[in-house]
């Protein structure tokens, strides 16, 4: 089974990109299963369901969504195997710019849109720099010049990645992404695989549901702002 991990900046069109691409995969008679990891709620599962494919949703709720994501990779894989999927599309939301979901052996896709500004590719961090494929959306509404500048900024952050222009409204670019998925290697099993980037520590009292502000309520791994820096 090919294991495709999709992340990206908010509202960049991750689900639209994948819905168009899955349509092409289905046309090639491949069985696709989709799983959406989100924080508090999602309605993206409905869009995947309309494709007539098996869909699972994981809501991290009070847990850091990135840690929740990693802790559930085996279970998600097992679920997709049960669905007899040839391709598993795992879309994650809620990633802060410190985290990246990429796992060695999986095909990692980062979706980013042209409207976020030319400095954003640098700020997005490992989510973009460790992706195999960077999909750039919303190019149809900005000038050719800006598209070229934005693409260059993405290339600087991730020189190895294949960069695809994608129109999430029309699906232009979906064939190229489908071909990248078909050309990627199937994964023999997620167990024992390694994250391309470590995730930050998240084991303080707020992780466990604490809501009151103040030193007295803070336990676990706590890091404070260094006010000496930059002054």
């Amino acid at each position: 089974m090919r294991f495709v991990i999709v992340a990206g900046t908010p509202s960049s069109g991750k689900t639209s990109v994948m819905v168009h691409t899955i349509r092409h995969l289905l046309r090639s008679d491949l069985a696709v299963a989709a799983c959406k990891i989100d924080c508090l709620q999602t309605s993206d599962d409905a869009r995947y369901r309309r494709l007539g494919i098996p869909v699972a949703v994981g809501l991290s709720d009070y847990i850091c969504p990135d840690h929740f994501y990693v802790a559930n990779l085996e279970e998600i894989e097992a679920w997709a195997m049960d669905q007899k999927a040839d391709v598993l599309v795992l879309e994650t939301a809620g990633l802060c710019h410190r985290c990246a979901p990429a796992v060695y052996g999986c095909l990692s896709v980062c979706v980013i849109d042209n409207l976020v500004g030319v400095d954003t590719p640098r700020k997005v961090g490992p989510m973009l720099s460790s992706a195999d494929i960077v999909v750039i959306t919303k190019g149809d509404i900005i000038s050719q010049a800006e598209r070229e500048v934005f693409r260059h900024k993405v290339e600087v952050e991730n020189p190895q990645a294949r960069i695809l222009d994608f129109n999430g409204l029309t699906g232009q670019g979906a064939l190229a992404l489908k071909n990248e998925i078909l050309n990627s290697r199937a994964l023999a099993g997620i167990s024992g695989r390694e994250l391309r980037n470590s995730m930050p520590a998240a084991s303080c009292s707020y992780c466990a549901g604490e809501t009151i502000v103040g030193k007295d309520y803070q336990m676990g791994i706590i890091k404070k702002v260094d006010f000496g820096r930059g002054n």
């Binding site: 042209n114 409207l115 500004g117 030319v118 149809d140 509404i141 900005i142 000038s143 050719q144 010049a145 800006e146 070229e148 500048v149 693409r151 260059h152 294949r162 029309t170 232009q172 670019g173 064939l175 190229a176 071909n179 050309n183």
Partner: protein
């Protein structure tokens, strides 16, 4: 490096083979894409933009210099092959015209960037009514100024051998001049248009119907004469527009025809 583009026909919306099975556009030529809304004009442009190989909805193939584009190999060199200007495009970067043009020129490896961006600004102001300055912020440009700057940038900095133009007639710029500038030296230009003048300025035009390429015409000598008439009428309209915009009253006194030629 790029002498022509060939479009090999696929299927129309009913799954029937397209009436036109092959179109070639050579360097220095303009192809107009015409037809009613929904007839498949934008899809044709989209097929070309993604170098279709029978895998898009239409099943068309696009050959560049007689060859299918190997999309996996050598893709870095393919990325600057095409440039697009459409009516839906905007500038969203919060930056001055000068900063942005310098950034773009630098990314495209242009050495004499200071002189290049002067040229871009000159063309921009040639195409648009109100002058743009280097210190203007991109997001403050009017619709016409933005389009003029995009055309100038595509012509000078992007400088792609293939230019795709989508309905720029409503952009508020001198579109005939814009087409001349974009044609440049030996470029392949595709123009989607509902505008008879732009259609006749092309050497050939393909008529889209029901998703398929239905007819192809070479512009005839008679059509070229009609084009000259149209251009004359347009110059006159443009002259009237200018005078009205300057606050003149027309149709008064001895200049009742509003004859723009008298203004030079």
């Amino acid at each position: 490096m790029l002498d022509k583009i060939t479009i090999l026909g696929g299927l129309d919306k009913n799954g029937m083979p397209e009436k036109i099975g092959r179109i070639e556009i050579a360097a220095g030529e303009v192809l107009a894409v015409v037809g009613p809304t929904g007839s498949g004009k934008t899809q044709l442009i989209s097929d070309i933009e993604q170098y279709a190989e029978e895998e898009t909805l239409t099943g068309r193939s696009v050959l560049v210099s007689n060859q299918l584009v190997n999309k996996n190999r050598d893709r870095r060199s393919m990325r600057y092959l095409m440039a697009q200007v459409s009516q839906n495009m905007n500038f969203v970067i919060d930056m001055s015209v000068e900063e942005f043009l310098l950034m773009h020129a630098q990314i495209r490896g242009i050495r004499e960037s200071a002189r290049t961006i002067e040229e871009v600004l000159a063309i921009t102001n040639h195409l648009s009514g109100e002058p743009v300055t280097f210190s203007t912020n991109l997001t403050q440009l009017s619709g016409g100024q933005s389009r003029a700057l995009m055309v100038a940038d595509v012509a000078v900095i992007s400088n792609a051998p293939v230019v795709l133009i989508d309905e720029i007639e409503n952009a508020g710029i001198d579109r005939l001049q814009a087409l001349e500038i974009l044609k440049g030296q030996g470029k392949i230009v595709l123009v989607v248009s509902h505008d008879p003048t732009l259609m006749l300025m092309a050497g050939q035009r393909v008529v889209m119907k029901n998703g398929g390429m239905n007819k192809i015409y070479l512009t005839t000598p008679k059509e070229k004469r009609i084009l000259e008439d149209l251009v004359r009428v347009e110059k006159r309209v443009a002259g009237l527009r200018e005078r009205l915009r300057r606050g003149e009253s027309i149709g008064l006194g001895d200049n009742s025809e509003g004859d723009s030629e008298k203004e030079g």
